[in-house]
Amino acid sequence: ETKVGMITTLSGGGAGLGIDVRDGFMLAIKQSGRNDIEVVIEDDQRKPDVAVQLADKMVQSEKVDVMTGIIWSNLAMAVIPSVTAQGKFYLSPNAGPSALAGKGCHQNYFNVAWQNDNLHEAAGAYANSAGYGKTFILAPNYPAGQDALTGYKRFFKGELAGEIYTQLGQTDYAAEIAQIRASGADSVFFFLPGGMGIAFLKQYADSGVDLPVVGPAFSFDQGILQAVGDAALGVVNTSQWNKDLDNATNAAFVESFQAEFGRLPSLYASQGFDTANLLISALEKADVSDADAFRAALKAAEFASTRGDFKFGNNHHPIQTIYAREVVKEGDVYTNKLIGPALENHADAYAADCKM
């Protein structure tokens, strides 16, 4: 019997992501047919202090062996160090803050999604290949936003037409769009998660500025695209996964997810699904109580990932291919179509700092 604690966001504004991770995760558990895995799920309400409490509860009262589920970097930073310090395993299905990839890496911490910078780096690489020479970049003024612009700049070779930090939670982008229009840029890169991205794209589309837009998958994923509508059509975004990725695991996942929940899976659902499968693959080889063996089994990552090949780098973050994809409309549904790899077998920039 293995006990898994999942802390994720199930209420409030950001609940969609947490629900997808949970659904993907539970789907994999169900498909595995194992009934010796007990999953305790709690709602963190997207509040760091609540997440910390819940982590305490999982460790102290529920006595879980493995934890997972956190969506947001700030919550991850609050929970993961102390959980791993107490000897528990943590498998991150989404957040990958740089602090935990470099100096702060930990042998019991595995990230199954990406290091935060990855998708932005891929966006920079894509911009090069698309021949953009002068990009206007913007992101909210908080650590993930700062990482995003840094990540993009790390790979983008052209010049910057402008660089703006917007307010977190901002909903009106008229001023920024005016600056983009006046900047002489030939393309725009933005990282604006959630509602901010929806607002930006709608307003951008309505403004008459028609420079090409690049961004990470977060603003163009399945859960959100329907709300953006036509304004997102044709936008290129970067992701390590897409529903038309050509491998058998993925095809089966997409089909079974749709059958189970009546909606298309999102990036987050795929990450939840992969996380659970990684866990199951390790459990098949070793018991959690044998920490070293279990860790090695995780590290080996011998499971069928929805994104095809999957392996961990020395810092337990994925080394994977990140793709460019394009927003299209299939019938009534907005979704993404794969264009091609933007960065192949890409590791993160912090791995070298990890002494492990």
């Binding site: 910390v52 305490d56 102290q60 009262s61 700030n74 930073m77 609050a78 602090a99 700062q146």
Partner: protein, 327 residues
């Protein structure tokens, strides 16, 4: 109707007995919950001095909570990374000692309360509510973008700070510290309410013009109340940060200011044990309802509504009668 003093004693007994029972039955998480409630109660005891005694509806008390939290976060962060907090003009080192952190937390929130108070007390009523809210938002946005200390990610401290002679990592011992401080604060609040200062403050809340005509400075009375209030809430912030071994800008958020206020309203405004009752109930509800359904906020909302609509004077008022009695 139960007399308020017996009710208070009952509440206090819960604070003492429940954690002991939790240790007995090996339910460490119950202790964590109780610690959370005790710390929130402390924050609300602080606010209650401004709100209950002085009638100052501060919608920005999270400022002090957050400052206390960051006082702990920053000092411990520098201690844990062995970097000095300040080199010139004088060297200031970080620390992992709770008493020192508390002092700093109190000092910083006192200064902030002084500043905010001087500016905000020029206004009154709803404007006061809103200007304190504005200060809260300023601190919140500042903390989010202050990347030196983690910005929105906040700061994690890997090991709980120490208190001479105690093992703070043991939940019950840390709870003991929090309970002791809460009790002390309650005692202070009780004495304060009865003191000449408290009498004058109560009069300022009810009839400001009268206080002036007996030659007392109403604004200054309110300012001092606000500062004391901020200092206590600041101290609670430091404890909260230590409970979670983590600080983040959410400690400054208006939702948190609102929650501190909600504790008081649930418990009973201006009642000595109102904040304690309110915090216990709120934390309890949050915990029990959270397990019921994804949509548990609906139930929480309904319960709160019932309390306002039918429980005039908060829980304490419902049980011990509406009139504030002299305990």
């Amino acid at each position: 109707m139960m007399q308020e003093r017996y009710l208070n004693a009952t509440i206090f007994a819960i604070l003492v007995v429940l954690p002991v029972w939790a240790v007995w039955t090996d339910e460490p998480f119950t202790i964590t919950l109780m610690t959370r409630a005790a710390i929130f109660a402390l924050a609300a005891v602080g606010l209650n001095i401004a709100l209950g005694l002085g009638g100052l509806v501060s919608f920005g008390h999270a400022v002090f909570f957050g400052l206390g939290g960051y006082a702990m976060g920053i000092l411990a962060y520098h201690a844990q990374t062995y970097t000095p907090l300040l080199e010139a003009p004088l060297l200031i080192e970080g620390t992992k000692s709770m008493p020192v952190i508390w002092l700093v937390a109190i000092l910083v929130s006192t200064l902030a309360a002084l500043l905010i108070g001087v500016l905000s007390l020029r206004t009154g009523g709803v404007y006061f509510i809103m200007i304190t809210l504005a200060f809260g938002q300023m601190f919140y946005y500042f903390a989010i973008s202050w990347s030196a200390y983690g910005g929105e990610d906040g700061l994690s401290i890997y090991v709980r700070n120490g208190f001479p002679g105690l093992n703070t990592l043991d939940p019950i011992q840390f709870y003991g510290i929090c309970l002791a401080i809460l009790s002390l604060a309650l005692f202070v609040a009780h004495r304060l309410a009865k003191s000449p200062f408290g009498l004058a403050l109560g009069a300022v809340r009810q009839v400001p013009q009268r206080v002036e005509t007996v030659g007392l400075n109403g604004i200054r009375l309110k300012l001092v109340a606000f500062v004391i209030s901020g200092a206590i809430t600041g101290l609670s912030g430091a404890l909260f940060a230590d409970l979670n071994r983590f600080v983040s800008p959410t400690m400054f958020s208006w939702q948190l200011s609102g929650e501190i206020m909600v504790f008081i309203i649930i418990g009973g405004v201006g009642r000595l044990f109102g904040p304690v009752a309110g915090a216990l109930i709120f934390v309890g509800l949050e915990h029990w309802l959270g397990g019921l359904s994804d949509y548990w906020h609906v139930y929480l909302g309904l319960l709160l509504l019932l309390i306002v609509l039918f429980g005039r004077g908060g829980i304490i008022g419902m049980i011990a009668g509406r009139e504030r009695s002299d305990v």
